[in-house]
Amino acid sequence: MEPSVFQGSYPVVRKTACAKQTFDFVIHCPDIAKMAQAGQFVHVKAVGFTLRRPISICQINPEKGNIRIVMEVRGDGTAQIAQTPEGGMLDVMGPLGHGFQLLEPTESAVVVGGGIGVPPMLETASHYGENATAILGFRSASAAILEEDFQRAGCQVVLCTDDGTKGRKGFVTQALKEHLEQSKPSIIYACGPLPMLKGVAALAKEYGVRCQVSMEERMGCGVGACLVCACKTKRPDGQEGFSHVCKNGPVFEAEEVVF
């Protein structure tokens, strides 16, 4: 069986700081880029730390053999990764997990991202282009990222900030509700804080729209071998049990997730 997941030391071809404690890396890893799909993640090693850090893939460029990740410094490990300079090397493993299921680009989609949950939505939004509406939420203007990227992808961007310092004031769920009042998309994709996902899933149910959410949990192996990144889900038979974010996810059908 041909390898479909790879790990190695890959060069950082571009690095920019896009917001406070938030960094934008373009990594040249042709084998990973060739296999990667929207909504999948890579597992990145921080020098001096035991566990890898799962980071969602923001953009995939199989032709150039590059992937793009936008990550936030949350602790010592991510701080270590963020220190990697342009031209430096990153120990990356991937692509991992199940991504978003993409419909025909002609279908209409709404992507909802909150904070560092915004980057994973870009590749998916790009798939739908002008048929996609991107509802992006941030704490404040200083934390806002990737707005231009979503616009360049052709989608309508609704930017919200909790404090109203940019775009409209308020949560993405309010903006989503108003959008659903206007029109019914074929599907909703969401990634962000748990309360946000919960709200988005509820709205999707209320308006009868299919919804996929990208979940997060403290992770180990990244391939489904160690079973630590448990996420409570409903099975087809209705019984509740623990699925695993790294293998069954990170993307789940919203109706399967037990929030």
Partner: protein, 303 residues
């Protein structure tokens, strides 16, 4: 090329590197990176007779050169294993070891009896899981408890029986002797050391189970000491594990008396660790002019 093959209680392993239970699922996951045949054997995810949901998350916390886990034996149960997981491993060119756990002596016995009729090559009795309320380590921390489980299981076990010991004890060698006396064919050690981490922001344990099992390079010196102590006190083969990340660690472990070794947490840092360990052993043996890995087992000379 030196000979890497080892034999544990009648079972041939093409090399002494075994995937540690709980770190390699049911053998399929890492196949996307390299074939399972890289390993001399794989110890499958700890299983119970009935399905178990395991503990709620978070189930993992990072520590210096190590990690804590509190999975709590999540597994689909033996019937699902036999009908779905085991068939998928058919033809896998590696020794298949079923890791068996229970909450009562009876539950151990019925599970092992069921596994005895299957195609697994060997059974690893898990009397040392620190993450379950009943059973698990409860049996593993006393000679009487350990002996009673092995005695009951031995009666119904038709496969080579390896017993995995807990390091959270005062005298692990005494427990090793107790399970040997009841008919264990091999002994593997160490399971994880019980540990804890606290999130000072929330003032809560990081693990939802409060405590969990420590593994990774941090525990290697403790594992090596225990393997040395046990290997000096029992006649049955010893399988060493606990924090092995490099081929040098594997050599140390075998010199301490381990006939084979298991690799676990190291795969989370470097998924290719087992491949590198096998290659490194091979190269070292050639450089040393040693023709057979078995020649180094137990050769450490104490001062």
């Amino acid at each position: 090329m030196a000979r890497l093959g080892v034999n544990l209680c009648g079972v041939d392993f093409k090399n002494p590197v075994i995937a540690a239970s709980g770190c390699f699922g049911f053998g399929q996951e890492y196949a996307k990176m390299y074939p399972v045949s890289v390993f001399g054997g794989i110890s499958l995810k700890g299983m119970t007779f009935e399905e178990r949901q395991g503990n709620p998350p978070p189930r993992i916390a990072e520590t210096p050169s190590g990690m804590l886990n509190s999975v709590g034996l999540q597994n689909p149960g033996v019937e699902a294993f036999l009908s779905h997981e085991l068939p998928a491993l058919k033809g896998a060119d590696t020794v298949l070891i079923a890791n068996a756990a229970g909450s009562t002596i009876e539950s151990y016995a019925v599970l092992v009896e069921r596994l005895s009729d299957s195609d697994v090559d060997m059974i690893e009795l898990n009397i040392s899981c620190p993450n379950v309320k009943q059973g698990g380590a409860a049996f593993g921390v006393t000679c009487e408890g350990a002996a009673s489980v092995v005695k009951a299981v031995r009666k119904v076990c038709k496969k080579p029986l390896m017993v995995k010991l807990s390091p959270n004890v005062t005298d692990i060698a005494a427990i090793a002797q107790a399970v040997e006396a009841e008919g264990a064919d091999a002994i593997s050690l160490i399971n994880t050391l019980l540990g804890m981490r606290i999130d000072i922001k929330t003032r809560r344990p990081i693990l939802k189970n409060n405590v969990g099992g420590l593994s990774g390079p941090a525990v290697f010196p403790v594992a090596l000491r225990m393997v040395w102590q046990v290997a000096n006190r029992v006649k049955v083969p010893v399988v060493g594990l606990g924090g092995i990340e490099k081929w040098q660690d594997a050599i140390e472990m075998m010199m301490a008396g381990a006939r084979a070794i298991q690799v676990g947490a190291a795969m989370f840092s470097d998924p290719y660790a087992p491949v590198k360990i096998v290659d490194g052993m091979n190269q070292w043996l050639d450089e040393q002019g040693i023709s057979d890995i078995n020649e180094i087992v137990g050769t450490v000379q104490p001062w």
